[in-house]
Symmetry: C3
Subunit: 331 residues, 3 copies
């Protein structure tokens, strides 16, 4: 729900998650704290206050809350603190430069649900691209987009066109547990513009294996392997995580981490800008236009046409619905 | 609902009518097609796509729809097109440079309901002024405005003031079929600033016949004849159509076509700008302020005071309500 | 609800009070008239019209309304005016440069409910500071703020910090009639930056008496006396009225009048800007952030923590609720 480096020392970072305003800061031992961003006294956003001794001080009347959420200082009268004066605190974990928050019952926070970022192990800082984008669309629309290779020819023609090969290929889909995995095996593909410069024989066709793996509710892993007949042992490898954090029903925070073994000469910020161009200038406007057209209505109520090749998205959507329903309080 | 020249070749024009997003384009034979602007697959606005072989290609996943609304190309898998994969298509007609769309059941599209633009027959391009304005007000408020001469002295004093003569005159009102016709016969009028330069005797009074004719639901014709005693055969003639297309309940597209036999020396764009000044800088802000004050409430529920001279507007409003009710599905 | 000098001759001033759009103007005898800002004919804002002979003329169709609200001129037909053609007129009073309006039944307008501005009697124009601020927050949040000294150390540290003394002091609270009065008696206070330059012994502690008096529903008087042991007869005196006029549930017009016997050398506009800095740059953003967080919900439903020292605010809020309920029509 944030990059670690967004939470600078002495800095309060405000961010909305699942429609809950949160404030992030570093405690004295530099662990990251995530609190409800609303003072229980007069409802001031704590993020408008300041950090004092590793606790957040409300900027209106000066109550201070530690990283556990408890009030630790009351500047009023004799300074006594009434029992239970606290804001909600949310468990979080730092992982490879990203912060993950658990918004549910803290007792149910389960590290096994964190994403698997082992593909970043041993990577140098030059190997890894990180990016953030806020999109005014529900996260399910972004999952659809990430599980869908076929749009590359239409929405990213300058970077990722395959002459329609992605669309014509019907990928293998595997579904188990909370995961949907979609595998493309493409032979003799006219290589995509974004990859061409890194091939041994740029003019010649290449083979490509792409795996899109959704792990519910909101992680998508994309891996790509590209090689040519002339040197099958030379493989362009790309591994990435795409993590979606709903800000609200209508907006999503989106982070990605990408590791590649090619295109390592250009400065990292330039390469990150290239990825953000596709996501930010091509996907985002389309997703926001779709969200606007849907007008907050339920996807299935709008009776979408289902095409061959939509399987992975449809299965993921249905499974996600089950996961969400399972989390609802029993009546 | 559009000027013909807004629909340029290879161009997709998006426009909302009756709260329905539409996309306009020219087919290969250059006839104009009007489709629902929402792809049935993932609800992308088709107007964000591109024209391919006279069909519109969705910019997200590449489905193509012809001017009939049918899907004619599916880039996915074996390319088969499921029966019924289509968007809604709307019948339209081009008439004297304007495009008229029929939003109801295509079977009921009735050319006899098109406006009578015969007053433009034989006109040179220099004789005709065309204009477009989008106003954030319900179209009924604009009909009120167009059927009402009396506001000229207050809202257009620099162009159209009559020293209060329009307001003092109670026009003859005729009501038949779907039409309300209001006739002003004004003698010895202190001539209006906008007309004065074109009279033989600018300082002298003139006689004026003005006819405002509403043809339900949303056309208003205005004709004006102005002459002086010194040369009764020299008549300044103006004929115009004012066509209102509701964008939604709260906004209206407004087009006009005006033919005159005077003021023909200035360039057409200058003369069009003059008309747009009165409509855009004087009427529009007032109509939008009125709409805001009404806050979406029903006109009659707000209990408006009815003045002498409001007859034509009141009759037109009531008849329009009947026309709208008659179109509602029977329960 | 306005400064007298905002209503310039020949000028129509539009202002919304209790969600009612109003128009203010000067009649021929220069008394101020306040009318409903909506023409009863076609709902045009009268404030878009013009002043004619001390009456407001609607800018759309020219009906004129005098300061009593009655239609006094109809430009239509024979000019007859139908009985009862009028807009609502609101009684008002000018007092020390401010205009106060009575929005209820005119029969109940009660001059005894006007604020007591006698503290301005005999003041020269150099002694009095006047200011206006529009805040996007409910007026109850602003009353809370004005009855609360303790926030000075946190929200106004550069101007009004007391090293926490305001917060530690529990003021005496008196409650009678429609008034809540809160008295702070502070001894040996490290003097506040804004006052320090005007003390005889700037480095030495001072004594301070502060009285915050709420007179329901929406006036707050603040008086301050500051002196030092070295010369107890030399007292820095400040008296002020803070008048809150709800624009709507979510926004408030706020006027202040302040008289002081110190800091009289700087030009009045500079001193007014200083006060507006604290209210506008420090209080206003916090109040608007609080209002946004509350999202229109009821204060008590949000279960605020009540701290020692909140008494005056809590009593005022509860009494205000009683006053509002007492004004509701009986069912």
């Amino acid at each position: 729900m944030a990059r670690v480096d967004e939470v600078e020392p002495e800095h309060l970072l405000a961010r909305r998650v699942l429609d809950e305003p949160l404030v992030l800061f570093r405690e004295n031992d530099s662990t990251i704290a995530i609190l409800e961003d609303t003072c229980p006294h007069r409802f001031a956003p704590l993020s408008l206050g300041r950090l004092r001794d590793g606790a957040v001080e409300c900027g209106y009347h000066g109550l201070r809350f530690s990283g556990t959420g408890s009030c630790v200082f009351n500047p009023r009268a004799d300074g006594s603190i009434q029992p239970g004066l606290a804001v909600r605190a949310y468990p979080s974990v730092e992982l490879h430069g990203l912060i993950f928050v658990w918004m549910g019952d803290p007792a149910n926070a389960d590290p096994s649900k964190l994403p698997d970022l082992s593909f970043l192990d041993g990577a140098s800082s030059n190997d890894v691209l990180t990016g953030y984008l806020r999109t005014e669309a529900n996260y399910e629309l972004i999952i659809d987009n990430l599980l869908d290779a076929s749009h590359a020819d239409f929405l990213h023609p300058g970077l990722l066109s395959t002459g329609g090969a992605y669309g014509r290929h019907v990928p293998k889909v595997d579904y188990a547990g909370d995961e949907v995995c979609e595998t493309f095996m493409l032979e003799n593909l006219p290589t995509q513009p974004a990859v061409t410069p890194y091939l041994s024989e740029p003019g010649k066709p290449a083979h490509q294996k792409m795996v899109f793996r959704w792990v519910g509710p909101s992680f998508v892993y994309i891996s790509g392997d590209i090689w040519q007949d002339s040197d099958p042992s030379r493989v362009l490898i790309s591994r990435s995580l795409h993590a979606l954090t709903p800000e609200s029903n209508g907006a999503t925070h989106y982070w990605f981490k990408i590791r590649r073994n090619y295109d390592l000469e250009r400065p990292v910020p330039n390469r990150e800008a290239g990825v953000l161009y596709a996501f930010g200038q091509e996907d985002k406007p389309m997703l926001e236009a779709v969200a606007k057209r849907m007008g907050g209505k339920n996807f299935w109520d709008l009776r979408p046409a289902v095409l061959q090749g939509d399987n992975a998205q449809v299965i993921a959507r249905r499974h996600l619905r089950k996961m969400v329903n399972a989390e609802q309080p029993q009546s």
